[in-house]
């Protein structure tokens, strides 16, 4: 499935140069896993980063740096984390899978969350699972929010967001997404701040997902 909704080129450059925080990086990585064209853009930036790195004047290391490194590779490598994403998700980095496996909790009937990482500041990364057909209360955002669909689909106005699709909603966006009736929708979310509710439903919803 080729995603229909992509990060902006600006965001891809920020990803490539290392300017995105961890949560945002994971959300963009989710999209890149399924999007060849965005991967190409990022690959060019990373190639440039590699060339700049290779051309940097070296900073001297401790005299025993190499010996220390060689000693550390003698030890058995840490056991690779083998957990794989559920079959019906797109591929995601392991820390996302770990969050789903170990930190998933029900937040409301039909809604579960699994925090991934906090910070910097008010930033939060989490997985959000919402049951088929449910609507998310109308809300705006404090700070930007990035979303990548891992499973299922939701409708936001006229746009249909399916696995791999990426969305960026900032303060100017007030919306009321709705999960399609086909099944549960799981999203990877990086939020700059808590949702700002616009109605009573939101006031109930917010503390529940406010993690």
């Amino acid at each position: 499935m080729i995603p229909q909704h992509h990060p902006t080129e600006t965001l891809l450059v920020d990803y490539g140069t290392g300017a995105l925080d961890r949560n945002a990086r994971l959300v963009v990585a989710g999209h890149l896993g399924v999007c060849e064209s965005c991967r190409r853009v990022v690959a060019e930036i990373e190639e440039l980063g590699g060339a700049l790195l290779a051309a940097l004047a070296p900073a001297p290391l401790q005299p025993d740096a190499l010996d220390m490194a060689l000693a550390r590779i003698e030890r058995p490598a840490p056991v690779a984390i083998t957990s794989t994403a559920p079959n019906d998700w797109i591929a995601v980095p392991w820390e996302v899978i770990e969050a789903a496996r170990t930190r998933r909790r029900w937040a409301a009937p039909g809604v579960w969350v699994a925090p991934i990482a906090r910070g910097p500041g008010k930033a939060r990364g989490y997985l959000l699972g919402i049951a088929a057909g449910m609507g998310v209360p109308r809300h705006t955002h404090r700070g930007a929010e990035m979303i990548c669909v891992l499973k299922g689909a939701y409708r936001d106005g006229d746009a249909l967001h399916r696995p791999g699709d990426f969305a960026w909603n900032d303060e100017t966006v007030e919306h009321q997404p709705r999960i399609t009736s086909d099944g549960e929708c799981v999203c990877l979310v990086a939020a700059g701040g808590p949702l700002v509710p616009r109605d009573w439903m939101g006031r109930i919803f917010q503390p529940l997902v406010g993690i």
Partner: protein, 215 residues
């Protein structure tokens, strides 16, 4: 030729200049001047295929001091930068089997590992430990310094030195000052669109230079 000038490159290498040779235990797969990427790719493949420690030493000697340099430029204290450089190269060892020489150069792959480790190990306030905040906040005011540390004999160093100053500045802020587009715009007091177009132009030029390097 513009003036972040090659002359400046050699005179303002700054506090992190290579006072000692990086490769004390230089092995056969790297020369002392700008070894080619294909050879480093070969080192990673040899690690993947037979856990080749000489190949690891070769990669370590070339890249660990440069990763440290990269992290210092991004504001890390030298001790933290060295630890992260170690971690980066150990990750290269552990994940060598995932490296595909047909898809990326060794330098590209190692850059992404260092970049991601740095982001993931950043403290909650979003930064790796820095020597002091005043130094950090000062850094963007001297964006050319980061680029002046590029070794001028490398093609990419020469290409960067030949960029118009304003293009070099955005490249420097983007890669070596951890700045998103929007922050660069704020820093330089420019509209976002201007920053984007400068970055795009700079990247297009440097891609041209990279294409010449590629075999």
């Amino acid at each position: 030729m513009n003036a972040i000038a090659i002359g400046a490159l050699s005179t303002t290498l700054g506090p992190h200049a290579p006072t000692r040779a990086a490769g004390r235990r230089m092995t056969s797969c790297a020369g002392s001047t700008g070894p080619d990427g294909a050879t480093f790719s070969g080192c990673i493949v040899r690690i993947a295929e037979r856990g080749d420690r000489d190949a690891f030493a070769c990669l370590f000697n070339h890249f660990a001091p440069r990763v440290k340099s990269y992290l210092i430029r991004l504001g890390a204290v030298p001790e933290a930068a060295e630890e992260l450089a170690q971690e980066t190269l150990l990750t290269v060892w552990r994940r060598a089997a995932a490296f595909d020489p047909a898809r990326a150069a060794a330098s590209t792959w190692i850059f992404t590992i260092a970049r991601n480790l740095r982001i993931d190990l950043a403290r909650r306030d979003g930064r790796v430990p820095t020597s002091d905040d005043s130094e950090l906040s000062e850094a963007p005011a001297r964006p050319d310094d980061a680029l002046s540390a590029l070794e001028n004999y490398t093609r990419i160093g020469i290409a960067v030195a030949s960029l118009p100053r304003e293009q070099a500045q955005v490249i420097s802020l983007a890669f070596f000052a951890d700045k998103a587009h929007s922050e660069i715009a704020g820093e330089l007091g420019l509209p976002l669109g201007t920053v984007k177009s400068r970055l795009r132009l700079a990247m297009a030029r440097l891609r041209g230079a990279l294409a010449e390097i590629a075999p």
